[in-house]
């Protein structure tokens, strides 16, 4: 018998501490009513855990250990703060006997409250994303900065400002009332999906994608699924993320250049993720019989692609009809662009171009110019296609996308 490899063991430990840490944090925010204090206390407890557990072994009740350690630290911090302000400590409330049964419903509720606090519409979206990574995913400030491509100092400032606003403006630590819930949940999911997309197709920088960010977004969506079981839009978002991410290994060539869906090696798609995603689509559709949910419908479209043996053999009629449904709940230029691409596959490039010409508001969107260029090239209109590629290249995008477009343009003009 050989000793277990320390690297995976270390990674598992970090994961355990992080997952338990966010639950402990959620509880501590409720008890102290102070996100900043709770965070400092939990950070201290998780650092201690990472320092001592590898030596002494993981305690039988990791969460109880973390909770107790964090509570003690919070009391210290609160006393110190009180002494500085010359006030009586409120720390006594922290001495309540802990009720941290591992899967107690109140721990779940605490986490859900924290979700709605961090994604409150009174916070700007970059702050929501940063807070979600810091408090809900349990990343350190440095890791959040790294994930979002800003310096640790900048991220620390952004997080401090956000926490200050939560405290000063008294943004509540509460699950919204039933009548507000659908709208607030939409905001939460939009933030999580933004996080996913930031990782899935990095909007700038040299890396075409940031897998760690994708993984955090999927993990966060799974958490939401646990917290709000049976919620169609959460099922839909998780399905959408899994189905899109099932293509991870096939989306780029070894040089990091994007490989578009038609050209991907489908044997490299992650079948387990596809299977899970497809089941979730079905569940999401069953849970939203009266009003289509935009995430569920987008996931249904992704499922059509995931289940197709090849690009030409895709069920384009089904894809197109899902886009028609999507337009009834989410009529945006990007949805119309994608619908035009489906039309082109089903009825030919000419029909697709006509659809595309009818869509307005896409001038600043490189993919729209690229799609137009593809269709023009298919029709042999090379000069117009080259002009469309050139228009796409003038817009901001990441280095890999740029290289891909240059290649297409070169192939076209080289003929």
């Amino acid at each position: 018998m050989s000793a277990p490899d320390p690297q995976p063991a270390r990674a598992a430990l970090v994961r355990l501490v992080r997952d338990e840490g966010r639950r402990v944090l959620a509880t501590l925010v409720r008890v102290t009513g102070d996100l900043g204090l709770a965070e400092d206390a939990v950070q201290d407890a998780t650092e201690r855990a990472l320092a001592t557990w590898p030596r002494d072994g993981v305690p039988p009740e990791p969460r109880a250990w973390l909770t107790l350690t964090a509570r003690r630290r919070a009391i210290d911090l609160a006393r110190r703060e009180a002494a500085r302000g010359g006030k009586e400590a409120d720390a006594v409330v922290l001495l309540d006997p802990p009720t941290d049964d591992a899967d107690a419903p109140d721990v779940r509720d605490d986490l859900l409250r924290l979700v709605f606090t961090c994604c409150h519409p009174a916070l700007d979206v970059p702050s929501q994303v940063a807070l979600a990574l810091r408090t809900l995913c349990g990343l350190s400030t440095a890791e959040v900065g790294h994930a979002l491509l800003v310096s640790e100092a900048t991220m620390a400032k952004r997080l401090t400002r956000a926490k200050q606003k939560i405290a000063r403006a008294a943004i509540p630590y509460r699950v919204p009332a039933d009548h507000e819930l659908p709208e607030r949940l939409r905001g939460v999911l939009a933030t999580v999906y933004l996080l996913f997309n930031e990782g899935y197709s990095a909007s700038d920088g040299d890396a075409p994608m940031r897998p760690a960010l994708v993984d955090e977004a999927v993990r966060l969506t799974r958490l939401l699924g646990e917290l709000m079981p049976g919620e169609a839009s959460v099922l839909g978002l998780l399905a959408l993320e899994l189905l899109q991410d099932s293509r991870r290994a096939a989306r780029h060539d070894p040089d990091g250049r994007p490989v578009l869906l038609p050209d991907q090696d489908r044997s490299r798609w992650d079948r387990a993720r596809i299977a899970e995603g497809v089941v979730l689509v079905g569940e999401g559709l069953r849970r939203s019989p009266d009003a289509p949910d935009p995430y569920v419908v987008q996931a249904a479209i992704a499922a059509c692609h995931a289940l197709a043996p090849s690009w030409p053999d895709t069920d384009w009629a089904a894809v197109l009809s899902w886009y028609e449904v999507l337009l009834t709940v989410q009529d945006t230029p990007v949805v119309r662009l994608n619908r035009a691409v489906a039309v082109a596959e089903l009825r030919g490039a000419e029909a697709g171009l006509a659809e595309l010409a009818a869509v307005t508001g896409l001038d600043g969107y490189p993919a729209a110019h690229a799609a137009r260029a593809e269709l023009l090239a298919r029709l042999g209109r090379a000069d117009e296609a080259a002009a469309a590629y050139a228009a796409a290249l003038r817009l901001p995008q990441n280095a890999a996308q740029r290289a891909h477009l240059r290649e297409r343009l070169a192939a076209l003009t080289g003929r």
Partner: protein, 116 residues
């Protein structure tokens, strides 16, 4: 409980003019509905009555006054309430009932409780 300033930005109207009676009735209605949490407030005369004061060159420098409001915009600061609410969600819900919220917009800001 926190107290919020609900700062009303609306068209530059004269609350005292007879043609504002309907709007004033809406405000009276809000004032009665929210009486339990209103801690203060004021309606302001139109920006034609405003004078903006700046001191150039730091403390003790030259006083420069300009006629008119701080910024010439279509929507102007026309009044404010002080609302004592449990949290921001409650303050937002109330602010949405202030007529200025549909005539213009209402900015909600926590007020500092000195010496609290």
């Amino acid at each position: 409980m926190p107290t919020y300033a609900a700062i009303i930005y609306s068209s530059d109207l004269d609350w005292t003019a007879p043609e504002q009676e309907a709007v004033m009735a809406d405000y009276t209605e809000f004032g009665e509905a929210a009486a339990a949490v209103i801690r203060g407030g004021a309606a302001l005369y139109p920006t034609g009555t405003a004078t903006t004061v700046r001191v150039r060159g730091g403390k003790g420098g030259d006083i420069v006054t300009t006629d008119g409001p701080f910024a010439e915009t279509k929507e102007v600061l026309s009044g404010f309430y002080l609302l004592e609410c449990a949290d921001l969600d409650e303050a937002i819900k109330l602010a949405a009932q202030i007529p200025g919220a549909w005539d213009g917009g209402v900015e909600v800001r926590p007020i500092i409780q000195f010496g609290g």
